[in-house]
């Protein structure tokens, strides 16, 4: 599962996901991409599930690029515990995703195979996604 190797602080504030993606919003490495149309926290297990889903369709051909990384730690308190006595323990790590963020990219396969693989990946995501192509460089 994806997780940072080292962090400055273990626990974080929850924060708010505002605005749209101003970076990481175009296909940069592969030929085809999966773009998020909504904002969400995508946890490390969902990212891994998406990678496995596309790898199964590709069957060893092509290459999958994961464009998001779970930098954010999310804590929670156990059930039936009184409030107070400090922040809870880390439950999972997640990536903060805004509309426009490219989640996955694929290269080295025909467009129909890439479309099928990224559609399978999209089903593992907690957001609405769309298939996008690499934009021609000016």
């Amino acid at each position: 599962m994806l997780m940072p190797k080292r962090v400055k602080y273990r626990k974080q504030h929850r924060g708010r996901v505002k605005g749209e993606a101003h970076s990481g919003n175009y296909v940069a490495f592969g030929d085809y991409g999966l773009q998020s149309l909504e904002r969400a926290w995508i946890d490390a297990r969902q990212i891994e599930a998406g990678r496995i889903a596309s790898s199964h369709v590709l069957g060893g051909d092509g290459r999958v690029f994961i464009r998001i990384f779970p930098h954010k730690s999310v804590t929670s308190k156990p059930a039936e515990v009184r409030m107070g006595t400090g922040k809870g323990e880390i439950e999972y790590w997640c990536a903060v995703v805004k509309p426009g963020t490219v989640l996955y990219e694929i290269s080295g396969v025909p467009i129909d195979v890439a479309r099928k693989a990224l559609l399978r990946t999209a089903h593992k995501m907690p957001v609405r996604c769309r298939f996008v192509l690499r934009r021609q460089k000016i």
Binding site: M1, L2, K5, V7, R10, Q35, R63, G100
Partner: protein
């Protein structure tokens, strides 16, 4: 490449709100600069620009203020979702001076796929230098004879007459090689399951220090 003529208008009102109003009215805000002359803010019709962009146009001729000016499309600004054009940059070019531009390379006839081999497109465009009117739309490259373990460099692309390569000749465009075995993300015994916290205070216990309250009688 064909030089496309498009009607444009100078715009005096600038700023984000004015540009937003312009986009809602079906026009794209743009700017023209270059040839050591003052930059001018212009606007052009969105639909007309979309139609010529579909044909891959890069060279434009604008007639504004009774003068015609040849311009090269330098940059396109998109919105966050990447589906709408929000701004355009045009650079004035002289008909007799060469320009350096990025041109995409179209790779045709890919070799038959081999198990475990990956055809990797590292660069899909190259920089070329030529006169504005001789600018090619797209460069063709046949990769049918590419074998595993070999690659294609920028110098291997056949350029039309009057066009020179502006990139390093050994810039790799396509590589056909065997894939490295993917490392499975299974947890290894003894591997840390939590990240290292840089600001965490570690409890330090010196071996010879007496414990608190022990010496008290």
């Amino acid at each position: 490449m064909e030089v496309v003529m498009l009607p444009v208008e100078f715009r005096e009102a600038t700023g984000s709100q004015e540009c937003k109003r312009m986009r809602n009215a079906g026009r794209i805000p743009a700017v023209i600069y270059g040839l050591k002359r003052e930059a001018r803010a212009i606007s052009l019709e969105s639909h007309a620009f979309d139609m010529v962009m579909r044909k891959g146009a890069r060279m434009f001729e604008f007639s504004v203020g009774g003068k015609t000016q040849m311009c090269l499309l330098k940059d396109i600004g998109y919105n966050s979702l990447g589906d709408k054009i929000v701004h355009l940059d045009f650079m004035r070019v002289d008909d007799k001076l060469p320009v350096t531009v990025n041109v995409s390379v179209e790779f045709s006839n890919p070799p038959l796929p081999l198990t475990g081999a990956l055809l990797e497109f590292i660069n899909r465009d190259i920089h070329i230098s030529c006169l504005p009117r001789e600018l090619p739309g797209v460069l063709q490259c046949n990769i049918a004879d590419l074998k595993v373990g070999h690659h294609i460099e920028a110098k291997d692309i056949v350029l039309p007459a009057g066009v020179t390569l502006a990139d390093p000749p050994h810039k790799t465009l396509v590589s056909y090689h065997y894939k490295n075995a993917e490392v499975e993300a299974t947890p290894v015994d003894g591997a840390p399951t939590e990240p290292i916290v840089l600001t965490e205070k570690k409890p330090v216990e010196a071996p010879g220090t007496p414990e608190k309250g022990k010496d008290k009688k």
